[in-house]
Symmetry: C2
Subunit: 153 residues, 2 copies
């Protein structure tokens, strides 16, 4: 029906970087989030909050938002859920009463201690499909793109 003009480059979605990158990110994310969803009942924002709070004692929602690059409302809601489940607790900071110090509860620390090794193992198992050289190449490319886009490490 339509004549394809040779000078007009075809756009193959399957070879289009944003599309492929998004598909891969979703795939990888699902592969890992299966674990913290099914075994620990955490969704991605909650998992990120747990990971951040667990490795840094006493941090604010502000700090979590910056370091996870999530929108502050997303952080706020994730924190609220985790507090309902008694995995974290909040205390108004004495120094600045706008802030609220976020900490893991005993149950939260227990979950964190169980969670982290499992997740890291799952990541390791995924990355094992790449040769050392391929992993190096992948990370190098990602870093350059991150820098170009101003996604500070």
């Amino acid at each position: 029906m339509s004549l394809r003009v040779p000078s007009e480059p075809a756009l193959e979605l399957a070879a289009f970087l944003p599309y492929r990158l998004n598909r891969l990110a979703v795939g990888v994310s699902n592969h890992l989030s299966d674990i913290y969803r099914e075994r620990f009942g955490l969704d991605v924002p909650e998992w990120r909050v747990m990971a951040t709070v667990g490795s840094r004692h006493g941090c604010t929602a502000q700090h979590i938002a910056e370091s996870t690059r999530m929108h502050k409302t997303r952080v706020s809601r994730a924190i609220a859920h985790l507090e309902e489940r008694d995995l974290i607790e909040r205390a108004s900071s004495a120094a600045d009463r706008r802030e609220r110090e976020v900490r893991l509860t005993k149950a939260g620390r227990r979950m964190y201690a169980e969670l982290v090794p499992v997740v890291l193992e799952r990541e390791r198992e995924l990355l094992a499909c790449l040769s050392r050289e391929q992993l190096r190449g992948l990370l190098a490319g990602m870093e350059t793109l991150e820098r170009f886009l101003g996604l500070g490490d």
Copy 2:
């Protein structure tokens, strides 16, 4: 406060592949979607439908869903929006009256012809930040992961 057990590996979210990959995918997607959003008023699902229909005359929603890997409802809604804007049109297929053949209208073809070169140029400009070697490495790593996760090319 808490004693860090040496055998317990720290999880640094910034070095955690799913997180980084997701952040990068969002960044790259935004970098490119700025164009089709601001200059053409398309969101990502709409853009994907345009790209698919434009390079393949006469296809069904089914085919679009498979080839873009979007949920069929997302495709259905994107098609509905594009039809409202008279960029695509649908005709019930004679062979199978459940199907509806999706085609670009004249206006749709005009937009497609204008859109594709701009988007490809923008992609090229982004990829230019990578050395030939880095691009090769990035793609190789992505392909291996895609295969491992069963995200058929």
